[in-house]
Subunit: 456 residues, 2 copies
């Protein structure tokens, strides 16, 4: 039987399934600082805007058409739409839309997008049960802690192997969060984590297809249904996460168990969550940011002779598309990103529409961007010089882009992003009302009032 050629099994792992279950079941409500609780509000708010914003995307249409074949009961809201579906399907579809624009939150240490799986599962369950906003936030913080700590345990090996880590840890976060919301005891929470451990969702090969956003949705559905199974006595291995043939060892050669236990209940991974200001991969953000800053200094496209951009080689490796032909390609073009930043002062989903990416003035400006590789510049930085027609040179250096941990989006900037995403779907009045409700989520007696505002 000794055919295994992989790294040696670790038979002395700590009992992390039990440790996490005990933590999730027993940690006090709001047992963290005001800063952590505020970050939970911001995470929820950002996630909700992304989900509503993509509600009319063809991925949502296709997913809902498939769900309709199951004739679902109208338990929970599909955000930004009029359909109501069973809570597992709502978790699936809202998880899909929240990641469709690639505009959701990022836990930078693991590049997990934690809210997609966790919040999508929690809100669908909370709406069905009429839970309080406090209970939702507690579940969100704890669920995200579970997903990101397991991510820390395995990253980068797990991701390098080809797993889309958002969905392959998200089912654990969703299971933990739903177990908390259902008030399962430690033992049943442990079973829920175990059932979810058998259901990782996500391959990096799917990037560029609808199955990428399916990953957080599928993870949300898997986690929610795992909690429901555990609630009714379904059993799993109490060592499903750490055993030699358990989840972590099967999908990762890195097994830094201390990442689960270090400062558990004192440090919360949601503290390190970030929100994108631009609707594209993070590697372009410093370049866009620099061009937005040029615009803020009064520089206009018609004044520009050329833009000299110096970036790390990774930036061009991932986003070096010189002549993007449509919106999706635009997301992989640092040239388009720079043009959008300077022309519009922003790069939301609208600035990655086909019509914008192919607009003559946009095309003309991006052709003026000359990129040079300079590996002395950090991956998270960009160095931009605008050479103007009058000969002036204007230099902007961005060491940490807006939206990074060092320069987080302000609450007002989150409001702006939310509005930009939600207004086209639900109108200005509704967008404003939902925003106000989100900032007060911690005191809401029943989340159904908020959710009702999110239906079309």
């Amino acid at each position: 039987m000794a055919r295994n050629t992989h790294v040696a099994a670790d038979t002395s792992a700590p009992a992390i399934t039990q440790i996490l279950a005990r933590f999730v079941a027993n940690h006090p409500s709001r047992g963290w600082s005001d800063a952590v609780d505020h970050e939970a509000h911001r995470t929820f708010y950002n996630w909700l805007g992304c989900a509503i914003g993509a509600a009319r995307h063809e991925a949502a249409d296709a997913a809902l058409a498939a769900v309709a074949m199951l004739q679902p009961a109208p338990q929970a809201t599909v955000l930004g739409r009029k359909e109501r579906v069973d809570m597992a399907s709502a978790a699936l579809v809202n998880g899909i839309t929240s990641h469709t624009f690639d505009f959701d939150d990022t836990h930078l240490k693991t590049i997990i997008h934690p809210a997609g799986p966790v919040a999508s599962a929690v809100l669908a369950l909370a709406e069905t049960r009429g839970s309080s906003g406090r209970d939702v936030l507690d579940a969100l913080v704890l669920g995200i802690d579970v997903a990101c700590r397991i991510g820390n345990t395995m990253y980068p090996d797990h991701y390098d192997r080809g797993w889309h880590i958002t969905g392959s840890t998200g089912m654990l976060g969703a299971a933990a969060a739903c177990a908390r919301l259902l008030k399962l005891d430690e033992k049943k929470t442990q079973m829920a984590l175990g059932i979810a451990a058998s259901q990782p969702v996500g391959l990096r090969e799917q990037f560029g297809t609808m199955t990428k956003p399916f990953h957080p949705g599928g993870a949300a559905r898997a986690g929610l249904t795992s909690a429901l199974l555990a609630m009714h006595g379904f059993t799993s291995s109490p060592r499903a996460l750490e055993a030699p043939r358990g989840f972590v060892q099967v999908v990762s050669d890195k097994r830094a168990w201390n990442e689960v236990t270090d400062e558990l209940g004192e440090r919360f991974e949601i503290s390190f969550n970030t929100y994108k200001p631009f609707a594209c991969g993070i590697v372009i953000h410093p370049s866009i940011d620099a061009c937005v800053q040029l615009r803020e200094q009064g520089i206009r496209a018609e004044q520009v002779e050329r833009i000299e951009l110096r970036v790390h080689s990774l930036v061009l490796e991932l986003t070096g598309k010189k002549e993007p032909q449509d919106g999706l390609q635009g997301k992989f073009s640092v040239y388009h990103g720079c043009a959008a930043g300077l022309l519009f002062g922003r790069a939301g989903e609208d600035e990655f529409e086909d019509a914008i990416v192919t607009r003559p003035d946009v095309v003309a400006l991006r052709r003026k961007v000359q990129a040079t590789v300079d590996d002395s510049i950090d991956e998270a930085a960009a160095d931009v010089t605008a050479i103007l027609t009058d000969g002036r040179r204007v230099h902007v250096r961005v060491d940490h882009a807006i939206g990074s941990l060092q320069r987080p989006l302000s609450d007002a900037q989150l409001d702006g992003k939310f509005t930009q995403l939600v207004e086209p779907v639900l109108g200005a009045e509704r967008a404003k009302a939902i925003g106000q409700a989100c900032w007060k989520l911690g005191t809401a007696p029943d989340v159904r009032a908020l959710v009702k505002l999110c239906a079309a």
Copy 2:
């Protein structure tokens, strides 16, 4: 970015996602020999008996209680019960029950239990649509071919790493089978396989818990919903199976692509499916078989002084429990297996009930079994000598146990197994009627007539 320490990515893999999709979408109905088609009937029949037989198990109760929280539409039958649920949940629950007794079919080359994921998905979908028996059998043969060929591609490395291969290939088989039943074209079938590729279900750590049978159920649900998504235009990578960050390379270091393409459409993996005569791990079967043969030679327990059993070391490693305390432990005791074989002439689920495992005459007889390791004996063989109180020695050598490819269960023996499983749940008359319908499945105009007989 070159942090990957795993075996090198294979960038020249053949386009197996497309190849399998084309095969599944285009292979002619009943495009195989009578022998293959007969094996498909046997596979379906054996699977149905296992699923009905375990219908009242507590795993089914727990799963159905969880499903009930989604208020499912009454689209499809839970086999052996009165509940009707949506087709995805029916696929889940029937997949669970079909594997609950560990009594289902085995593709020995990969130890995949292929019918659980595939038949559970197909029948739920077929009932909802009123499909013909012919269409069900076509989907079953093709779906099992996909799952087992992917299994051949990765086994044993994938299994050794800790994946429960039944559920981690089964979602592909289920997706293929449902795509076929839905008559999806090649392109959409390819998308269905791709969506399913992101959702493997199953860790070996779960053995001994309800999450083990959850794996084929979860895979059935994942495959069915993947096909529904693809039907409505949901997209995935067209190289989801073979790309460097696609399914096979992410979960296995063995990538024998020729296992997908060799004799595709000529050799069918369902030909190599086997059915267990005994409700326990295959490694004990030769020993039980030998003791059944002793009984058939007229030997009775009271005549036995002792039984000398010689087996490969693996048999005692996996099933060496000398004093099992309950039914589940009994399944891991070659000693109990021998006692059951000699006392009852069979070892079905009934012979692994707690009351039997602890019955004084059973306990007394198994204590007379003396096992010796002899690695010159094959893992699939057993050498048994009964020493009788009158001094006689009776020797039985089993080189291939009943139920193996070399000594398959006859159709009549399958009838016996089916009856033993189904009668306690649905009664003798119904068991007989279902059996007759199963043997004629290929000519059934609408499977709903058969399924109706399977509801309690």
